[in-house]
Every structure is written in C-alpha cells, then in structure tokens.
C-alpha cells in the first residue's frame, strides 16, 4: 500500500465495515456475531487515519491507548510494532476492541467523526489484539521483583488491569476471585457471541503467566478471609478492591418471586459461565420461555434478550416448534435507551421486539407459581429528572396485560456487600459503593484501594480498566515509599 497518500486521499477512503454473521443465521447459534477485519480491511481502514499532531482520540480513551502509533505501525505492515504500541497502555486489547463503547470515547473525538465517519479504532484494536493472542509477539515483562505483596480482590476488568500493571512493575500479585473462573463480568455476564470466552481466557492466562500473577479462584473475600486478615495475617502490603457491582435489583411488584422471574445475572450466568445452552453436555440447566419479557434497556438487557432468542431458536430446531418472541420492556423512550447503539441495532436485526414507554406493575402466576402473564402500564415523559433524562410518568387507566411466560429483570446492579464484612474504616456511600479518590483509587481505610463498578456503580469495562490502571500507579508509588496517604 502506498504510504504517501495525501490527507484528502485518506479522507476519501470509505470507513470499512466489519463482516458479521447474517442475523437469521446467528440468532440460532452462540458464535461470535462480528467476524473481525482481515489484514487487508484493517490496513485499508488504518490508511484513513490522518495521524493528527494533537490526537484527540487518545484523550477520549480511559487508559490512554497510543492510538495513532499503533495505527501507523499497522498500516506500515509492522504488526509487532502495532502490538508493542498497543500494549504500552492496554494489557487486554482483544477484549477492549470488542466491548468498549468506542463511539462515545475515542471515535467520537476523531477528526473524521465531524463528517460522521471516524476511523474504526475499536475494530483495529480488536485486529491487533487478536493478532497478539495468536502470535504472542510481545510478552509482558516483569521488572525486578520488589518483594511487595499485593492482594487483588475480584478478577474482573478492574482487578486484572490493576494486577497486570503492578505485576509489570515487579510486585508480587495474588488475585482472589469468588467464582471458579477468572474474568468477572467478562465471563459470567457478556455472552459468547459478543466476547468469546476463549479470548477472555487466553488474554488473562497469558497475562498471568507472563507476570507470575497467582490466581486464587473460589475465594469469597469477606468469608474466606476478611480484608483485615489479608493485610494483617496473610502478609499482603496492600489490597485493591475490584469486586464490581454484582448484586441484582428486582422490581417491587406483586408476583416478583414466581418461577420464571429471573435476574439478568442469573440468566446470563447460567448461559455464559455455566454454559447452560449446552445442557445436558454441561450440567447446569437453563429454561427459556416461549414469550420472554426483558425489563430494562441497557447492555445487560440486550444481552439477555439476544441469549433468549438464541435459546428459543435452538429449542425450535430441536423440537420443530414455534421459535417464540422476545420483548424489551422499557419505561422510557428510544432516546433514553442506555445500551450501545450497536447492541440495540443487533438486537433489532435478530428480531427482538421493543416495547417503549411501558412499565410492569404485576406478574401473574399459575397454580404451579409459574409466570403466566404480566400487567403493564403505559408511560409518558414529563420534565427531566435528576439524571437529566425526562421522567417517565404512568398514564392513568392505561393498564394492559402482556402474554409472557418468562420475565428477566435487567434493572442495573449494585456492589455486593459481602466483601465489606468486618471491614472497619472502609467508608461507603448510601448506594453501597466504596468511597475512593477518583484519581488514585485510595479508599478511606489504610492500605486499601478500590476501582471499577464497586466505586462507580455499574459502568463500562474500559472505565473499570482505567480505574484499575490509576490505582496501580498510586499503589506502586505507595509501595516505593513515595507517598504516605494515610496517617494511621
């Protein structure tokens, strides 16, 4: 490829689209939807980057990936250089390239975004990440061991990132994970068709192996060890809390505990972590209704709806019966939908039905206490509320019944309080999140840092990774005796 294109020529190259599985095919399997760029497509897309002197895209990235550098190397055919540039700031590019909301972070700041067609930074990131997973050209290196011991609680995006950065700096890191597999929300929450588990496992295993990070699965901190025990008995110098927001919310309406009303957490964990879609090859069963209502319209709701569709399609293939229906029931309008546009688009393509301005008021059960319907009320939008979005108000007398046999609650999650058991001095907000300094991640308890959803409430993978990164930098300063943040 010619390297000396003019900016005008670069801007005339169309944004490359990534091949995807056809919607009708993919709704009957759990394979990845987006198939990734070929080298040719990736270099074509990379050629669109104008290599700005002041790259705004980098400002938009929570971990400050060296975007122009990796794109330049990629288009010059220097894949090793692209990987090196990427991994200076991002330890997990194959994951971020798939799940980051680039459209509101790096890509929105791209100068080409003004014309509506920013460089597809996320897809290029994924391409480089996948190349590295396959070729391992840039193993992370560990600095001279410092002898300092770090306990990371929670092996999700925040914990892994913090662990990797501290491992690179030579500290002795142990990750405590409550489930049997590392990855947190990446393995229990995000479905296979959006983020293949082999990608997560490879990325984490490779990182842990390179940096000699010890993994302790099946460790529920707060029960097996308290934070104080980690610090005072188990010999850890510091603790980083990256336990996420794992506690589900349920509506307070009649019928909420009937069979067939599940939290999105339970539904997705059965499907993803436990591989329920492969029952009985895997032991964990999963049921899906013939008519499913998913309550909420965030990314978790889209994931639940799209898993439901797939389970319905697989069942129909097996039994020859009707496929069924999946509804997203959301009390606000399309404008307020919190999910990524791409996820909504994919869900629509696959056949999810959206019921906006609709709110459940009661769930009906049959004589076996199984869900057999849902009463809803129509909503209208009033004045903006404290979140800045227009407040949904019920329209009196507009109640109606929906024929459903399964209801999945995807209403957001809160931090799990288990880890705070006997954690004196660790201040929390009224929402149950840990009070921690935004820049450093320092908590109010000495030698404890926190970051990710446990601090912010449910947010994104990349913002949790950013928090893990900032905390790692501050923990390193502390371990080297450069800062003394707590007087006690």
């Amino acid at each position: 490829m010619a390297t000396e294109l003019t900016n005008r020529e670069r801007m005339s190259i169309p944004r490359q689209t990534m091949p995807t599985q056809d919607a009708l095919v993919r709704r009957a399997n759990f394979d990845e939807v987006a198939l990734g760029f070929t080298l040719e497509l990736a270099q074509q897309e990379a050629a669109r980057c104008l290599q700005c002197v002041k790259p705004h895209c980098v400002e938009g990235c929570p971990v400050g990936v060296l975007i122009p550098e990796f794109i330049l190397a990629l288009r010059e055919g220097d894949m090793d250089g692209a990987v090196r540039a990427m991994k200076k700031k991002n330890n997990l590019p194959a994951i971020c390239g798939r799940v980051c909301p680039q459209e509101t972070q790096c890509e929105v700041k791209c100068v080409l975004a003004k014309k509506g067609k920013p460089v597809a930074i996320g897809r290029l990131e994924r391409f480089v990440g996948d190349y590295e997973l396959e070729h391992h050209v840039y193993p992370l290196e560990r600095a001279t061991p410092t002898g300092k011991r770090v306990a990371i609680v929670g092996c999700g995006p925040a914990g892994i990132t913090c662990a990797a950065d501290l491992g690179r700096l030579g500290h002795d890191v142990t990750i405590f994970e409550s489930l049997h597999k590392p990855g947190g929300v990446l393995v229990y929450g995000i479905p296979e068709f959006r983020l293949p588990k082999s990608v997560v496992n490879c990325e984490i295993d490779y990182t842990a192996e390179c940096l000699d990070i010890k993994m302790h699965p099946d460790a529920v901190i707060g029960r097996l060890y308290t934070i104080d025990e980690l610090l005072n008995e188990q010999g850890f110098d510091v603790v980083f809390l990256g336990t996420g927001a794992g506690l589900p919310s349920f509506l307070r309406i009649p019928g909420i505990n009937y069979n067939g009303v599940l939290s999105a957490n339970e539904f997705l964990t059965r499907v993803n972590l436990m591989k329920g879609y492969l029952f009985p090859e895997y032991d964990t069963p999963i049921k899906v209704g013939q008519r499913v209502a998913v309550i909420g319209a965030g990314n978790v709701a889209m994931d639940s709806a799209r898993c439901s569709l797939r389970l319905q399609a697989l069942r129909a293939q097996e039994t020859g019966g009707e496929v069924g229906e999946v509804h997203i029931v959301y009390r606000r309008s399309p404008v307020e939908v919190p999910a990524r546009a791409e996820e909504v688009h994919h869900a629509e393509e696959e056949g999810v039905i959206f019921d906006f301005l609709t709110n459940p008021v009661e769930i009906y059960g049959d004589e076996h206490r199984n869900v057999c319907g849902m009463r809803c009320i129509r909503m209208e939008l009033g004045e903006p509320d404290e979140s800045g979005r227009r407040r949904p108000i019920p329209i009196a007398g507009s109640e109606f019944d929906m024929d459903v046999d399964m209801v999945i609650m995807a209403l957001g999650t809160r931090p799990n309080p288990l880890v705070f058991n006997e954690a004196g001095g660790l201040e929390r907000t009224k929402w149950g999140t840990v009070v921690a300094d935004e820049e450093t991640g320092r908590a109010t308890k000495a030698r404890v840092w926190a970051g990710g959803d446990v601090v912010t409430g449910a947010a994104t993978v990349i913002s949790a990774m950013g928090a893990g990164k900032r905390a790692a930098a501050d923990i390193d300063r502390f371990l080297r005796g450069e800062v003394k943040p707590w007087t006690t």
């Binding site: 032991d283 069963p285 199984n370």
Partner: protein, 280 residues
C-alpha cells in the same frame, strides 16, 4: 482442586465425604454451607457443612443422591478431586444459651443439624433432639446426635426403627409437655420444615430452619435462591441460610424447588445411561 480424603456410605443413597479444604475449614462455623462443583462440566450446588476439622484442614459433607450432581459426587472415591469447593458461605447459626431447645433433623438434614446441635450444647443449652427418616436404612449419626443431646428421640415413618412417627409428633408432645422450650431448630426436606413450623406456631416458640434452595454463585449475585418472607424477599445465600420458619412462604419455596424438575430428570437419565454403558 480439592481432594476427597475419605468416604463413607451411610445408606444406599446417603454418602459422607471428607474433603481437604484447609482455608475453608479454618473459617467454617456451624450453619454455614459450601458450593460444590464436581468437574469442569458440573453445576454449582450448595451443601451444608456437616462437620469441620480445623487442624486436619477438612470439611465433611453429607448428601443424598437425588440428582445427577449428587450421584456423580457419590460415585467418586478417595483421591478424586473436586473442581470447586467454595465457602464457608452464609451466616453461621446464632449460638447462645437459650435454655431448653429442641433440634429436629429429618433425613439428610441430620447432617447439617449435627454441628449446630453440638455448638448449642457446648453453649450450655439443655438439648432435646429428634431425628427421623422414612425408614431405618436412611437414618444415620444416631450416636453422634446422642453424644451432643441431653435427650434423643428417634423415629421412622414406617416404624422400622425407633418410634413409628413423623418428627412433628414428638415435637408437638415436647411443646405440650414442656412450657420452657425456648427455641426449635428444624432441618430437613422442605415439607418437613413446613410442618415443623406449623407445629410450633400455635405455641409461639421461635423456630429456625436452614433452607437449601437452588443457587449458582452462593454470594448474592444470581438471586435464584430468593425466598419470600412475611417482610419481603430475602436471598438464602447471603441473608440465610437460616430463617424464622414462621415467616417463610413454604408453598412458593416448594414450587421454586421444582422449577427445573424436567431438566433434572433428563440429567439423571443421561447419567444412569452413562453409568450403565461403563458397566457393560
């Protein structure tokens, strides 16, 4: 991985397994449970801790082979390893000196009842225990229970051993005979616990049950274990597993336990088929 060190067959369908889990044993207390996953394809199931030995670093679990996972678990011999053994989970039993108390164990529920009874006895309570099962074959740990009780009543549904009665009969008599009973613990099948609750309710004696519901993570994440109490829903894994029996919506609880009945049946059939093939 967690190695099985010892195994006992308590009845045709009841097995005892001692597992090496020193970190769990270090913290385990009466009333708590563990989540077990047999192998990489396995499901996660909760099992209440039947005993623990901090020095040896072991946890004892007792289970009835009622589903694929428990059948698989029961087929393992010492030296085998379990993929997951997470705990100790849930709140420990609130052990105090209440005065005179009654501990009722039905079937495999005798197992989790034992460490609770022992702890209550050690705390100075006068302990009357009732243990029961469908028949003699299904009874176990009579001697163990006798050793930690001031009085032990044994019954079977069919009269093949001890008194021919459901556990609720002697329970009712004790409540009528002794106005001093401060508290009752009842652990066993849901239907037994329900009827123990109905038995004690007219006497106004606080009754504690330990619930074993469907759960995945055991840490409050899935909500599959939720139970409807008079004051609202609670999670068995993090709010329990012990609850005030008089607050529990038993019919909903039992309906929820039946949700995956079809799939459980299918898994058992497949397991038995596989075992048959191995025998052939």
């Amino acid at each position: 991985m967690y190695k099985i060190l010892h195994k006992e067959t308590l009845s045709d369908v009841t097995k005892l397994v001692v597992v090496a889990a020193p970190e769990v044993a270090r913290k385990a207390q009466a009333g708590q449970f563990v989540i077990v996953r047999v192998d990489e394809h396995g499901e996660r199931i909760p099992l209440t801790i039947a005993n623990y030995d901090r020095e040896a670093g072991t946890i004892t679990i007792i289970f009835q082979e009622v589903g694929k996972t428990t059948m698989h678990l029961g087929s393992l011999e010492p030296g085998s390893e379990l993929a997951t053994f997470t705990g100790p989970l849930g709140h420990p039993t609130e052990i105090e000196n209440y005065g005179t108390i009654v501990c009722v164990g039905g079937g495999v529920g005798i197992a989790p009842l034992y460490p609770i009874t022992r702890a209550l006895k050690e705390a100075g309570n006068a302990v009357i225990s009732i243990i029961g099962a469908r028949n003699k074959e299904l009874l176990f740990w009579e001697d163990e229970m006798r050793a930690v009780s001031d009085e032990l009543i044994v019954c079977t549904d069919d009269g093949s051993y001890g008194r021919k009665a459901l556990v609720t009969e002697p329970l009712k008599e004790l409540l009528e005979r002794d106005g001093e009973i401060a508290r009752v613990w009842a652990i066993g099948p849901a239907i037994m616990m329900k009827f123990c609750a109905l038995t004690t309710q007219p006497f106004g004696v606080k009754t504690i049950v330990s619930l074993n519901t469907i759960m995945i993570d055991g840490t409050g994440m899935c909500g599959g274990c939720r139970v409807q109490l008079a004051g609202g829903a609670k999670f068995v894994c993090v709010d329990g597993p012990e609850f005030d029996a008089h607050q529990v919506d038993w019919d909903l609880l039992m309906a929820r336990l039946r949700f995956y009945l079809e799939e459980e049946k299918q898994a058992v059939e497949q397991w038995q088929h596989r075992c048959q093939l191995e025998v052939d």
